[in-house]
């Protein structure tokens, strides 16, 4: 795909020509109609998406009798699906396009692992971003749980 469309995303800034070429060859541009489903919770998944334009709504099914909850609205420059990019597991949320047309860049897990093992600095940068984000989420989670168990009793 044409990388100039990603130029406003910091993750993609300052790449050298070789790295840009590699990325251009492995990223797929995707377009989604307003309201359409990008992926569904529980689906097997092997990629993540960078938002070029438009908005995405992320929802998670509630447990048992709990209703579906909206967990995030994401816009240009943001990323979705990073858990699956790392572990190739199931989608942990459902993601739908907002009220306008959405343009995305898709990165597949195999390609990510390939450029990571090849020492591509974009892959390093992406992994840094993802890993710090996931560690922060994990720590928030365990902090919440510890607050519950530390409550009087």
């Amino acid at each position: 795909m044409d990388l100039s469309r990603l130029a406003s995303i910091p993750l993609f800034a300052d790449l050298n020509e070789k790295q840009s070429q590699v990325l251009a060859s492995i990223l797929n541009e995707k377009s989604a109609d307003p309201g359409s489903v990008i992926f569904k919770q529980g689906e097997r998944a092997f990629s993540c998406f960078f938002i070029i334009s438009g908005q995405l709504h992320v929802t998670v099914k509630g447990e048992a009798n709990q209703p579906t909850r909206k967990v995030a609205t994401l816009g240009p420059g943001e990323m979705v699906g990073e858990l699956a990019l790392v572990d190739g597991g199931l989608r942990s949320a459902t993601c739908k396009a907002g009220d306008e047309q959405v343009t995305l860049a898709e990165l597949k897990r195999d390609d990510f692992e390939y450029i990571l093992n090849a020492g591509n600095s974009f892959a390093f940068r992406l992994l840094d971003t993802i890993s710090v984000g996931l560690v922060t989420r994990l720590r928030d989670t365990s902090r919440k749980l510890m607050m519950v168990v530390n409550a009087e009793g």
């Binding site: 858990l83 942990s92 749980l145 168990v149």
Partner: protein, 180 residues
């Protein structure tokens, strides 16, 4: 020093996709093996993080301190497993206590040395980060569904039973989190 650890690292599932040169690079971040006496703390909640520990020998208890005097074990880790590894990704004070359940020996991947390896763009550092991130994903997925209900369950906390249930549930999730 490095070569002494090479053989051991090579035997661990976590490093099975590392070639020798990469293992060498990781081993260069590791100092001499550190013995811990039974009952001794490897680290305690609030301690500054110095690195990721790999258990070479023995058994370690991962414990959540509860107030001043009580604590509860959430995991027991044996040879080959890693503990305290999140600090290689983002450093923060320790949130748990780790105590030797028997005389043990650990290797420490020094945080600063690892950061320098990473800054040099060495692929082995990123392979390890990828590897640790995989565990983080696994842990997140173990709690993903249940955790959200803590924030939204408006009925919780109204009766003692519910508080107890919530606490029990939280313990279950913490155990799931730390045994991975």
């Amino acid at each position: 020093m490095a070569s002494e650890h090479l053989q051991f690292l090579r035997s661990l599932p976590r490093f099975k996709r590392f070639i020798d040169a990469e293992l060498d690079a990781i081993a260069s971040c590791i100092g001499p093996a550190k013995p811990i006496a039974s009952g001794e703390h490897l680290f305690d909640r609030g301690d500054p993080s110095d690195g990721a520990y790999i258990i070479k020998d023995g058994l370690l208890n991962v414990v959540i301190p509860l107030g001043e005097t009580r604590s509860r074990r959430v995991a027991r880790l044996g040879p080959g497993l890693m503990v305290g590894e999140l600090c290689l990704i983002e450093s923060e004070a320790r949130s748990l206590r780790v105590i030797a359940a028997e005389p043990s020996e650990v290797l420490c991947i020094n945080k600063e040395k690892f950061a320098a390896l990473k800054a040099s763009g060495d692929v082995s550092a990123y392979k390890l980060i990828h590897n640790i991130t995989l565990t983080v994903c696994d842990r997140l997925r173990s709690t993903n569904l249940q955790i959200q209900d803590f924030g939204t369950d408006k009925s919780a906390g109204t009766t003692e039973d519910k508080v107890e249930q919530k606490k029990k549930n939280a313990w279950g999730q913490l155990v799931a989190l730390f045994t991975r």
